[in-house]
Amino acid sequence: MSEIALVSSPFVGLEKAQLDKKYVNELTTLNLGPTHPATHGIFQNILTMDGETIIDAEQTVGYIHRAFEKIAERRPLYQITTLTDRMNYCSSPINNMGWHMTVEKLLGVEVPKRAQYIRVIMMELARLADHIICNSILAVDTGALTGFLYVMQWREHIYEIYEEMCGARLTTNMGRCGGMERDLSKEAIRKIQVLLDDFPPVLREFESLVKRNRIFMDRTIDVGAISAERALNYGFTGPNLRAAGVDYDVRAMNPYSSYEDFDFEVPVGTKGDTYDRFLVRGEEMWQSLKIIKQALNNLPEGPFHADAPHYYLPDKNEVYSNMEALIYHFKIVMGEIDAPVGEVYHSVEGGNGELGFYLVSDGGRAPYRLKFRRPCYIYYQAFPEMIKGSTLSDAIVTMSSMNVIAGELDA
């Protein structure tokens, strides 16, 4: 019987003498399978447990592998935006804008200031939406359902702002290479102002429920901790890395799209445990609100898209009346305009970290190779190390605080 237990456990290969005899008979294998509650996404962990303590975890991912990189080799550059939507679907605009910036870098298109500010507003709204979900679901996993239901109302409000901008709620396909597809409408500005006025008390109330809650703190402090050195070695970026103490934020280090004009702080934790991740995300929400306020107050006048007729689709009214516009429209849609040959890497600060796009163009309509640097995929490797020695409930809370989004994990 102990022989069978040995073969099916991750300890295959180890000499039997290396394992304590008493230990071997008590190990159980628990499948924290692809379908599990709390709707985090589908990835599997096979845990080897000694009673309640986790000894080891074996991970299987790829349950939602949709071959984005292969699809991207087939599509013209402006059609890949819809693919980027579906990677980190909780904060689609950030992915979209990151892609547009990559293409603009390749094509050498300058985006006017107004469009850059609008992009910043949309990206920060997306970051808010992502962190709202992550923090409230973390609270749900510890049993506090009220906070989730309360702040999800405001997530609906953010969806309404997206709808004003691009028409869709979740998979936004927002913006175009060269700017945005439409200007920020009066209704959108009004809704953003409502968010800036009415959301802070709600966020404060959510934090008051959870942040200094004895039970929440006991569940999350010193749980799933990772040191800064290990985090850097594992390629952590984003809130998970900042919770460990390293202040690496792509917005601050390599500013893009006018982020250097804004005054914001990068919150950093100390211990890298779940509570720090929760606090860092919470504080980032406040900083996002600050950035949106500054952007809205200082929104410059001007065009909302670049003057790049080769890449930016002309206005539909023009297409029906102006010959040049008609020709450009035809050329862009039918793919007569080629991209320059080159390789470009651009990264933005996604909801989970540095979201990078490595685009290799061979001069054709579609990329030759497009590689997405997906932060979730890279830092999820550290999960077994973070939960070794903790209990199953700690593992659930750690997984929840890492904000692993399956679309970004597998792409």
């Binding site: 349950y63 979740l170 998979t171």
Partner: protein, 182 residues
């Protein structure tokens, strides 16, 4: 207030009297089933987030009887498959479906679950109806919560009007056999 159309739900057909109501058992069972469907949210990707929005207070699926999301297949009535199902995930979906007890319904939410969606690739299953029988398809990428609720209401209609002996009928057994399910 006076020009709002208020639709009252009719009672099922039956004979009423002082302190009793006699109707068809099928109707009453259907009514009970339809208004207390407990879903198993099989949320894989983006449609799962729209489901979370449906579950939240703004769209509130618990108005329709799904107060409790059952993640245990044994206690669930309706399997809501939301999101892309890849070929790697297919056997797991089938296993979850097999674990559900009759009567069970399947709601396929989103273009990916209905037909593979925009992902016509080597790794994505082109529609879950290749491995399990589906009752209602909700298209969209992702469908708005109102659409998901509409699909859910269609399942309620099916549950309400379903014959109690349907699950033992030869047609149903033939349907399951075509999927390789006994």
């Amino acid at each position: 207030m006076s020009d709002r159309i208020i639709k009252t739900v009719d009672a099922p057909e039956g004979i009423e009297g002082q302190g009793f109501f006699a109707g068809k058992l099928d109707d009453l069972v259907g009514l009970a089933r339809a208004n207390s469907l407990w879903p198993l949210p099989f949320a894989t990707s983006c449609c799962g987030i729209e489901f979370m929005a449906t579950m939240a207070s703004h769209y509130d699926i618990s108005r329709f009887g799904s107060e409790r999301m059952s993640f245990s297949a044994r206690q669930a009535d309706i399997l809501m498959v939301m999101g892309t199902i890849s070929k790697k995930m297919g056997p797991i979906l089938k296993q979850v479906y097999l674990q559900m007890a009759e009567p069970r319904w399947v709601l396929s939410v989103g273009a990916c679950a209905c037909s593979g969606g925009i992902f016509d690739t080597y790794s994505v299953l082109q529609g879950i109806d290749r491995i399990i029988p589906v009752d209602v398809y909700v298209p969209g990428c992702p469908p708005r919560p109102e659409q998901i609720l509409d699909g859910f209401m269609q399942i309620q209609e099916i549950a309400k009007s379903e014959q109690r002996r349907r699950r033992e009928s030869p047609e149903y057994k033939a349907l399951l056999a075509s999927y390789g399910i006994e």
